[in-house]
């Protein structure tokens, strides 16, 4: 029990501490590729601290939903992140939910964010909410199907079991093609869910293109800080899923301090690598028009469907 509590608190601290760094790293990569020096990777930490200390301005139209949403979003995103193995393959909270629960916990945050976007009465907020709704609708089926395809190889939807079994290569029956297809599908889903180029651009405040930023346009001060932090957590969660579900090697398979330290280091390297990849993609591609996003997410869906079919047919 004491050990479980320590692990949960440790994971919380690591998640909260590392997530702004990932955001800073992506920005740094983009800056480098644009031949700029760019802000330090510590900049997101200063931003958060500054935002926490600022006054908040709340619209006179807003209700308690607007005030509660940052906390609900933060809590649901953190709760979802606690179900994902980071540096040790079996998380103590794995009994509380599997990967479907992670998806739905994130949906809880999305739901309240959509409401908050509508709450102030601004047309920007409504526009963002409406777009978030369609992007979420198109990502979810691909996500569930790719998860199923991965879950099949480990015979489980429990993240701890999937990661643990894959790390030990224990009872894993798979061929590379379906695995890689599911990986590609989940990568597209990651870009869409975390609001990155080519689906959304986190660096823009142009009303024609923004999705996530439009929803949170009316937020300021500590509310904005919580939302930004939650977004960073969500990004880290997806990068962790990609690295630990598909290539968990290096993760500690028992809660042993030395292996856990090693696992932590390996995990940091992996998510940083993925963050660099995201940064490179953001620099290489232009943002898609909203109605072209459908095609991209359609590809993700077809890929995960093929992963599923190949999984069965290759095994005969």
């Amino acid at each position: 029990m004491a050990q479980s509590m320590t692990l949960i608190i440790l994971q919380t601290v690591v998640l909260l501490a590392v997530s702004p760094f990932i955001v800073g790293l992506i920005r740094k990569v983009k800056a480098t590729l644009q031949c700029r020096r760019g802000a330090s990777t510590a900049q997101p930490y200063y931003d958060l601290l500054k935002l926490f200390q600022k006054d908040v301005v709340v619209s006179s139209n807003a209700s308690w939903i607007f005030t509660a949403t940052p906390y609900i979003l933060f809590a649901s995103t953190l709760a979802a992140s606690l179900l994902v193995p980071l540096f040790v393959s079996k998380v103590p909270l794995s009994f509380a939910g599997d990967i479907i629960t992670v998806v739905y916990l994130l949906a809880l945050g999305t739901f309240f964010l959509i409401l908050a976007g509508l709450d102030t009465g601004s047309a920007f907020g409504g526009m963002g909410s409406s777009r978030e709704a369609i992007v979420a609708s198109l990502t979810e089926p691909a996500m569930i199907l790719s998860i199923f395809a991965v879950g099949l190889t480990a015979g489980s939807t429990n993240l701890s079991t999937i990661v643990h079994k894959t790390a030990l290569l224990e009872g894993i029956v798979t061929d590379p093609p379906p695995h890689l297809m599911a990986l590609a599908a989940l990568f597209i889903v990651t870009l869409a869910e975390t609001g990155r180029v080519p689906v959304d651009n986190p660096a823009t405040h142009l009303e024609l293109t923004m999705i996530h930023e439009a929803m949170v346009l009316e937020y300021s001060g500590r509310y904005l800080a919580l939302i930004e932090w939650a977004s960073a957590l969500k990004l880290l969660l997806f990068l962790t899923l990609l690295s630990n579900v598909f290539a968990p090697w290096g993760i500690a398979t028992a809660p042993d301090p030395i292996w856990m330290t090693l696992g932590l280091a390996v995990w940091l390297v992996k998510v940083s690598g993925l963050a660099v990849l995201v940064g490179v993609i953001e620099s290489m591609f232009a943002k898609l028009r909203l109605f072209r996003v459908t095609d991209l997410l359609g590809v993700a869906f077809i890929l995960s469907l093929l992963a599923l079919i190949f999984f069965y047919t290759l095994r005969g």
Binding site: V56, S130, E218
Partner: protein, 677 residues
């Protein structure tokens, strides 16, 4: 315990039918007696349900009747008890709500008739699930249909209400005809209408007859449940009724059809059927779920939106039951139990949150006198209680953790995922595709309820009606609060619900899975494959969310000191923001309409009238968007046209002469004698 509760229930509802008719022209007394008696009846029903679910052996009582073949036979097994409990729980909450709601009908419509029919409706639904005799079942089924029809046409002075009622009346009787065929198939083999004989026939039904019974039951009960493509009446009839009745129609009545399907497939057929039966049910479920939610998204009449969501949720229930049937036909008993249990869990969840949401819609209707969402807005300030309860319902129906909808959809997801155990490749691939359809349905439902709640309750009032709205009466709030509490309880306490549901599925599938489903001392749910496989714990998630939120609050204070908040108007690009600049419901769903335009086939009409002086200034602009009702156009309209054409031709033989009709009777008699002789 059971006989006493049964008696209380019968007396309650009977009093409720009679008393309101006696107190003529005194609406307050009629209201009090009708809904007070209904509450008593529902309490009796809750007793019957609770006792029936825990009883070791089914309770059976039978009264002979003067008619041949008819037996007033009642049997309370766990399946029947569960549905009685569901009907009565919702009935009780709705009865309390109705005490406040029907007040606005005073002086306009007969409260006596409304209250009396309300009781007759509850009584007939209770008897439908208790009946243990085919003839008796059809009798009370018909009573239920008629009572609900008269309730639907309460506001009979409105033409669209009459039309909706008529449509419903036709569809429900088509359904009844198909159910009659199902029972006749069984009767044909056994010579009895008793369900006991249906369960244990002396000789097994021939293959063709079994298929016929399967299909007719699916069509017959499906017409009542509102499966696609038999759903077309539902979005008309459910919203046309007074809101407390809509709540029962959508929350409870369509569940009697689910009861019928489970009774026929798992009880009468004893779970012995080919795989494609389950596959058909699954496909119908997936289609209903997806199309239901898609049409719901395009609805801006709050009650029609909720009605379409009933189509969706019936689909979700059938996904669970269909998966259970597929597993059953491959002999995977514990997985079959899981699928069926998940479907039944969603059945009670849907009854509770849909009942709640319809009550919320009724509260909005009585406060603003409109059902059009575009005329709401900002109601969270005027009606904080209604808003809060509606939000609970919206979160539950969107299956967000830790709500009850999440628990049952999670179980359905798991049973679809477990398809890898089926030895058939087609099913292995089709079931996960069903799961991805369920995922799409779930997130579209989320979008739909974000729209419904956001547009109705948030931002600025969009009309005079919304500005003048007031919170509804305490009775209505109590009714909604009770349902909201049930929603929360069903979500946070699956360890109490699962063993009760297991008592239903165990005799039907032959295996008990309650122990496999619960782990960590009941805190976590695991789908029959053990904790390693997958588990979810809504209590733990609830605690987690409840702990992180105050910690985040505290953390914010530590990092930034006490909150300094400034209230200021929303930035409107330099203009004064008015409600006309707000995002509307139509605008909100526009991207969805565009992406799925193959399904919607929308026609958009935009007419602009410019000022004479310059084409840069518009004088008048009208925008119209129309969604093609595909099923009506391509499926129903041809049938209607055909029927009218035939009727036109047949007019020739209707000359109105008595002699001619006597001749017809004579010819018929001769023909009949020739056939039977």
């Amino acid at each position: 315990m059971i006989p006493l509760s049964l008696l209380v229930g019968l007396i309650g509802y009977s009093l409720g039918i009679l008393l309101p008719l006696l107190a003529r022209r005194r609406p307050t007394i009629q209201n009090m007696t009708a809904h007070g008696a209904a509450l008593l009846g529902a309490v009796g029903g809750i007793g019957v349900g609770a006792a029936g679910l825990t009883a070791e052996v089914p309770y059976h009582v039978s009264l002979p009747s003067s008619l041949p073949l008819l037996n007033y036979s009642i049997r309370i097994d766990p399946l029947a008890a569960f549905f009685v409990l569901l009907i009565s729980l919702c009935g009780a909450a709705v009865a309390v709500y109705a005490l406040g709601y029907v007040r606005e009908f005073y002086g306009h419509y007969s409260i006596g008739a409304l209250g009396s029919l309300f009781n007759a409706f509850l009584l007939s639904m209770t008897l439908v699930v208790l009946a243990d005799d085919g003839f008796f079942f059809l009798l009370v089924w018909e009573l239920m249909s008629l009572a609900s029809y008269f309730l639907v046409v309460t506001e009979h002075d409105k033409a669209d209400v009459r039309h909706a009622g008529f449509f419903y009346l036709i569809m429900t009787h088509v359904g009844t005809a198909f159910i009659l065929v199902t029972f006749l198939v069984f009767f044909n083999e056994s010579g009895s209408f008793s369900f006991e004989v249906f369960r244990h026939p002396t000789r097994p039904l021939p293959e063709g007859m079994r298929t016929l019974a399967f299909l007719t039951a699916l069509i017959g009960f499906g017409a009542k449940a509102g499966i696609v493509p038999l759903h077309v009446w539902l979005p008309y009839a459910h919203p046309a009724a007074p809101s407390h009745v809509s709540s029962l129609l959508s929350g409870v009545m369509i569940k009697t059809a689910i009861y019928g399907l489970v009774r026929v497939y798992f009880d009468f057929f004893g779970g012995a059927f080919p795989w494609w039966w389950g596959f058909i049910v699954l496909t119908v479920g997936a289609l209903s779920a997806l199309l239901g939610v898609m049409y719901a998204l395009m609805e801006h009449d709050l009650k029609s939106l909720l009605a379409y969501h009933s189509v969706e949720n019936i689909g979700i229930i059938l996904l669970g039951i269909g998966a259970g049937m597929i597993f059953q036909s491959y002999g995977l008993a514990s997985l079959a139990a899981l699928g069926l249990l998940a479907g039944l869990y969603h059945t009670i969840n849907h009854a509770v949150f849909k009942g709640l949401l319809f009550m919320g819609a009724g509260a909005l209707l009585s406060a603003t006198h409109t059902r059009n969402m575009e005329e709401y807005g900002g109601l969270i300030r005027k009606m904080p209680w209604t808003a809060f309860f509606f939000l609970i319902g919206a979160v539950s129906i969107s299956a967000l953790p830790p709500s009850n909808g999440f628990v049952s959809e999670w179980l359905i997801f798991q049973s679809l995922f477990l398809s890898f155990q089926i030895p058939d490749l087609l099913m292995k691939i089709m079931l996960p595709i069903g799961a991805s359809m369920l995922a799409l349905t779930g997130v579209l439902a989320l979008a739909c309820f974000a729209k419904a709640f956001g547009i109705s309750f948030l931002a600025m009032p969009r009309s005079r009606h919304a500005k003048q709205a007031r919170e509804v009466s305490p009775a209505m709030r109590v009714g909604m609060g009770g349902m909201a509490l049930l929603c929360v309880a069903l979500g946070l306490a699956p360890m109490l619900v699962v063993p009760a549901l297991d008592r239903i599925t165990a005799p039907l599938t032959g295996t008990s899975i309650a122990n496999d489903l619960l782990s960590k001392g009941g805190l976590a749910l695991t789908p029959v494959m053990g904790e390693e496989f997958a588990s979810v714990s809504t209590p733990a998630l609830g605690v987690l969310l409840a702990v992180i939120t105050p910690v985040a609050l505290l953390g914010a204070v530590i990092l930034g000191g006490t909150l300094r908040k400034r209230i200021y108007k929303t930035w409107g690009c330099g203009l004064n923001l008015t409600s006309r600049m707000e995002y509307t419901a139509i605008a909100f769903v526009q991207p969805i309409k565009r992406v799925f335009s193959t399904i919607y086939q929308p026609t958009i009409k935009l007419e602009t009238e410019f000022l004479q002086e310059s084409r840069y200034f518009t004088k008048h602009r009208s925008f119209e968007v129309h969604i093609e009702p595909m099923f009506q156009k391509y499926l129903y309209d041809p049938v209607v046209t055909f029927t009218f054409a035939i009727a036109d031709r047949l007019r020739v033989i209707q000359a109105g002469s008595l002699h001619l009709y006597l001749t017809y009777i004579f010819i018929t008699l001769v023909l009949l004698l020739l056939i039977t002789g």
